[in-house]
């Protein structure tokens, strides 16, 4: 049973298609790393999967309310404490207990610190703790290890492994090593959208003007 399956997906940015004919599936316990150079459309793809922008073509199917999305930035409020930040998201996702998340991300000692006093790595850990708090099985992460040192990357990989072990799945976009050797890697370069005269698809908005 795939937790997330994508078939023939095409996504567009600024009115022109960037990726097309993209198909993949993600099962429970699996992690998939999306790779590709800057500008290939990793962020666009993840935002499309998260429902923030419409797909140009193709289908995305997953069980309802199963995805938790994390963007480049962690969405932390700097004047709130670590536990206040987490409690907010816990009540948004209707999961009450934040203790396990604090425990697993090694944040218990920092629970009453304001988020602005955290280091970059600690902030990222708090962002991941937010994902744990959502209780959603499918994590969709955009550049999760930016600004992390090696030790923090290891901690991150451990957190993702823990999530996979409990039946979760993760989709990660990155261009640096995550320390997740077991993850499948999908190179996005072959899916780059072609111009229509070379057989690429029509239908993006600005194509109407060409």
């Amino acid at each position: 049973m795939a937790m997330l399956s994508v078939s023939n997906l095409a996504v567009s940015r600024g009115g022109l298609p960037v990726l097309e004919n993209l198909s993949f599936a993600l099962d429970a316990g699996q992690a998939l790393v999306l790779r590709g150079p800057n500008g290939i459309g990793k962020t666009t793809l993840l935002r499309t999967l998260a429902g923030l922008q419409p797909a140009l073509a193709g289908t995305v199917s997953m069980p309802a309310e199963s995805m938790a999305y994390a963007a480049h930035s962690d969405g932390l409020k700097s004047t709130l404490t670590v536990s206040e930040n987490l409690k907010f998201w816990a009540s948004v996702y209707a999961t009450q207990d934040i203790e396990p998340a604090l425990e697993r991300m090694n944040l218990r000692g920092l629970a009453n610190r304001a988020a602005m006093s955290l280091s970059a790595g600690q902030k990222r850990r708090l962002g991941l703790a937010r994902l744990l708090v959502t209780g959603r099985p499918v994590w969709v992460l955009d550049e999760p290890t930016v600004s992390l040192d090696t030790a923090s990357v290891a901690l991150f990989a451990q957190a993702v492994r823990g999530h996979l072990a409990t039946g979760g799945a993760a989709l990660l976009a990155t261009h640096i090593d995550l320390g997740l050797e077991e993850a499948k890697v999908l190179d996005l370069a072959p899916f780059k959208a072609l111009p229509p005269e070379e057989g690429g698809m029509m239908g993006a908005f600005d194509e109407a003007f060409l």
Binding site: R47, A50, G51, L52, Q53, P54, E65, M67, A68, Y69, A70, A71, H72, S73, D74, G75, L76, K77, S78, T79, L80, E84, K87, F88, W89, S91, V92, Y93, A94, R130
Partner: protein, 218 residues
Amino acid sequence: MIALLIRDLRLAVRAGGGFGLGLAFFLIVVTLVPFGVGPQGDILARIAPGILWLGALLACLLSLDRIFALDFEDGSLDLLATAPMPLEGVVAMKAFAHWLTTGLPLVIAAPVFGILLHLPASAQSWLVISLLLGTPALSVLGTFGAALTVGLKRGGLLLSLLVLPFYVPTLIFGAELIRRGAQGMATEIPLLMLAGITAATVALIPFASAAAIRVNLR
């Protein structure tokens, strides 16, 4: 939803949240007006309803760009949009939080400012009623303007240009209500119009604001 309200209130009250700035701005406007028009009590009393409403309008405008811009910058707006919560509800809650932190303090403090401007005692209750009924519409319409300009780098000035024309009906009926109340004239029409505008904007504008946010996050 309640959690979002509590979070926004907490953020407003914490350092740098800007709570109380609107009130201070209102005080400055009221202080400066007599310097501009002279200290004669009868003139001040006549223009007091307009000045107080204009002050409320500008104080409200002052904090509008913070409603979504901060959440947009730190990425929480993306996360809120993907959270299991209708975006219309998010927008409505943010407008409500904005009103609680800027509109409500003005309503409560208004009689003091009324005294400073020689507003007759008979008009004081109308001042409070009119602000209480009208300021929620200001917050909701301001949220709409903030939603339209959320992704823009220099959205502040544009936001004022977009939002202020929307404030015209509320301003007219709000100030007219105080004026008529002070003179003991019939107040039903401005009272009902003010309440009606507020009720309709609170009910409908969040849908437009949420649509604008969705477009801006795309």
